[in-house]
Amino acid sequence: MEQELIEILEIKSEADIIEARVRAKAIAEALGFNYMDQTRIATAVSELARNACQYAGKGKMTIKPLNKQGKKGMEIVFEDHGPGIENLDRAMKGGYSTGGGLGMGLSGSKKLMDEFDIKTKSNEGTSITVRKWL
């Protein structure tokens, strides 16, 4: 029962960012993603886990295998209860950062995944759902 295999990881520190991408990569491999896609997924996870850790202090990653009418894939959700993203358009466009990175984490990870949904509310938090299909 593949669908029951849901992996949850609390992201509280920088070390958890590495743990998040190691776990995501292992699950991607188990689901049959090739090495190129495993790298894309691990890189996107690295960006999004850091995003939660850096701006909200902590967050939660949930990985779920997908099976939609025979179409298989992987969904990863990042949730935090941080300040939210003030200017989402600007953050998604890239090149703007309040956290000392390249300001390309969100836009970059979107390009690596097949689907990217983001919900953010001021002072309530941010939830980002990404999916990759096999």
């Binding site: 190129m36 690295s46 390309m104 984490g105 836009s107 970059g108 690596l112």
Partner: protein, 121 residues
């Protein structure tokens, strides 16, 4: 994990370093400081940074590499990044990231050739 230090070897006028563990953010920043410290200490003409063991290079790592290259070049030291995996290179291209401030070459040998050519000019 906290007390890892990555060896930075000296050979002639060059420094060579090759991290073999995943670099979490603090370690990456420490590694950058260590490299720049070694450059000051050795007055090396060039540095080869081999990242063949690194399977994920994200925006944070790109920024650290860029800062190493830029700071080193201000001190007169050329930085060549070698050993990029094809999967890492593709991922960087797809995200639209450039490695600024550094040259790239296929492997350590080619990297040293690049430094030797630059040095002779």
């Amino acid at each position: 994990m906290e007390n890892v230090s990555i060896p930075i070897l000296k050979s002639g006028n060059y420094l060579i370093t090759s991290p073999q563990v995943a670099l979490h953010d603090k370690l990456a920043v420490q590694f950058k400081k260590d490299i720049l410290g070694r450059i000051v200490e050795t007055k090396a003409e060039g540095l080869v940074l081999d990242i063949s063991a690194i399977d994920v290079v994200d925006s944070f790592m790109v920024r650290q590499i860029g800062e190493i290259g830029t700071a080193a070049s201000i001190m007169g030291t050329q930085v060549v990044v070698v050993g990029l995996r094809s999967t890492v290179a593709m991922t960087l291209v797809e995200m639209g990231f450039l490695l600024r401030g550094v040259q790239t070459a296929r492997d350590l040998e080619k990297g040293l050739e690049v430094l030797q050519k630059t040095g002779r000019r």
